[in-house]
């Protein structure tokens, strides 16, 4: 087998320069030529032109025409299509958080995604809770990268006791089972609704981070992700940790 490969490489190296090249050698023309030698009867005299011989001007011109036509057609279709979307960017409308709190003082759980829109927010379409498959996740590498670059805000969805025992440095305490209590404390710190937020909890068996992510999406945050490996994975990797009730 090695001999065949070596022989093949020698033949390949001796091939004349023509067609697509990689490291100054033809990429696939020799395969076709060999097939021809074996009697396929194909006229293979014309080798591949090099990439520089591609009529780029003609190709670009046709591509531009196609792009313009497709764009016009798409916009026109979208205008008259019953399921068309607005071409103007609209951030998800926010619920009036305090109003929701007042209406749900007695209820527990995650205000943002459990509450139906009231009359004053009837224009706001309540986002459907995202499922495990739909929510964006980051793995351990992604979480560490973001931690190192300080590009994201981590949110610890576990209980205050667990948070105090250890958490990712800088992570904000946001117990998902007590959203009403923590939301007024944490949300004012998250002014930029496009800021990347990463929720985590006990790991893949825990859904607190998913619930917190859904509640945040309902509050209008557009870049929420879940670190599903969570605290166990972070701790196992011996990455930095903080203890106590301060981030």
């Amino acid at each position: 087998m090695t001999g065949i490969l070596q022989e093949g490489l020698v033949v390949w190296a001796k091939m004349p320069l023509s067609g697509l090249h990689l490291f100054n050698r033809p990429v696939y023309s020799h395969i076709i030529d060999e097939a021809s030698l074996k009697g396929f009867g194909l006229n293979l005299k014309r080798s591949f032109s090099s990439l520089s011989a591609i009529p780029w001007k003609q190709s670009f011109g046709e591509a531009w025409n196609l792009f313009v036509f497709a764009s016009f057609f798409a916009v026109l279709f979208n205008t008259f299509y019953s399921d068309g979307i607005s071409l103007k960017t609209e951030l998800p409308k926010n619920y009036d958080f305090h109003e929701l709190l007042n209406k749900n003082q007695k209820s527990s759980g995650y205000v943002g995604w459990k509450t139906a829109p009231s009359k004053s927010t009837q224009n706001s379409v309540a986002p459907k809770p995202l499922t495990l498959d739909q929510i964006l996740r980051v793995n351990l590498v992604g979480a560490k990268n973001r931690f190192d670059q300080k590009s994201s805000i981590f949110l610890d969805a576990r209980s205050p006791e667990e948070y105090a025992e250890g958490h990712i440095p800088g992570a904000l305490e946001f117990y998902a089972d007590d959203f009403e209590k923590f939301a007024p404390l944490v949300l004012p710190q998250l002014e930029d609704k496009r800021q990347e937020l990463i929720a985590y909890c006990h790991g893949s068996s825990c859904e607190l981070s998913l619930h917190l992510a859904n509640a945040l999406v309902a509050q209008g945050y557009t870049n929420v992700k879940v670190f599903f490996g969570g605290w166990p994975e972070w701790k196992k990797a011996n990455y930095p940790i903080n203890t106590g009730d301060q981030p």
């Binding site: 990439l51 591609i54 591509a63 196609l66 497709a70 798409a74 399921d83 979307i85 071409l87």
Partner: protein
């Protein structure tokens, strides 16, 4: 059809086959996205590679661009332009996928069927890179068989 090469040429046969295959691939890829721009908007939003202001327009245009490009490639009408756009799309997809993979983001690819749970992996990136290369092979063709274009 009129200007199809007179002699059968193995390379042109290969390029013709690839042209039609790339066309069918794009038509198939666009078919699930055409009817549901809002869902496609959510998918491309997750990639975080386009400015927010451009997202709705991209969600509307990209599926139709894929469809018409696929159609042009399949029937051989303005196929050079089609191959050019095919390469551009695959190049952009490859970069976007690779960037998200490098960021450690675990997400659904949304590449062919939007509801499918195909996860973003290194293989997804490699696959798009292969598609990009195949597009280059089509673009490299001087002529092609079974095409409406006369040149």
């Amino acid at each position: 059809m009129k200007n199809s090469p007179r002699k059968w040429n193995g390379i042109l046969i290969l390029q013709t086959f690839l042209r039609i295959a790339c066309g069918i691939l794009l038509i198939y890829s666009s078919s699930d996205k055409l009817g549901d721009p809002s869902k496609f908007l959510k998918i491309i939003e997750n990639y975080h590679v386009l400015p927010a202001d451009l997202l709705p327009l991209a969600a509307v245009v990209i599926p139709w661009l894929e469809f018409f490009t696929g159609l042009c490639l399949a029937i051989g009408f303005q196929w050079r332009g089609g191959a050019f756009i095919f390469c551009a799309l695959m190049g952009i997809y490859t970069l976007a996928l690779a960037w998200n993979l490098a960021q450690g983001t675990e997400m659904n690819c949304g590449c062919f069927a939007m509801d499918a749970t195909e996860k973003l992996t290194g293989w997804t990136v490699l696959r798009d890179l292969v598609f990009f290369t195949l597009g280059l092979v089509v673009l490299d063709a001087k002529q092609t068989y079974a095409a409406l274009d006369k040149k």
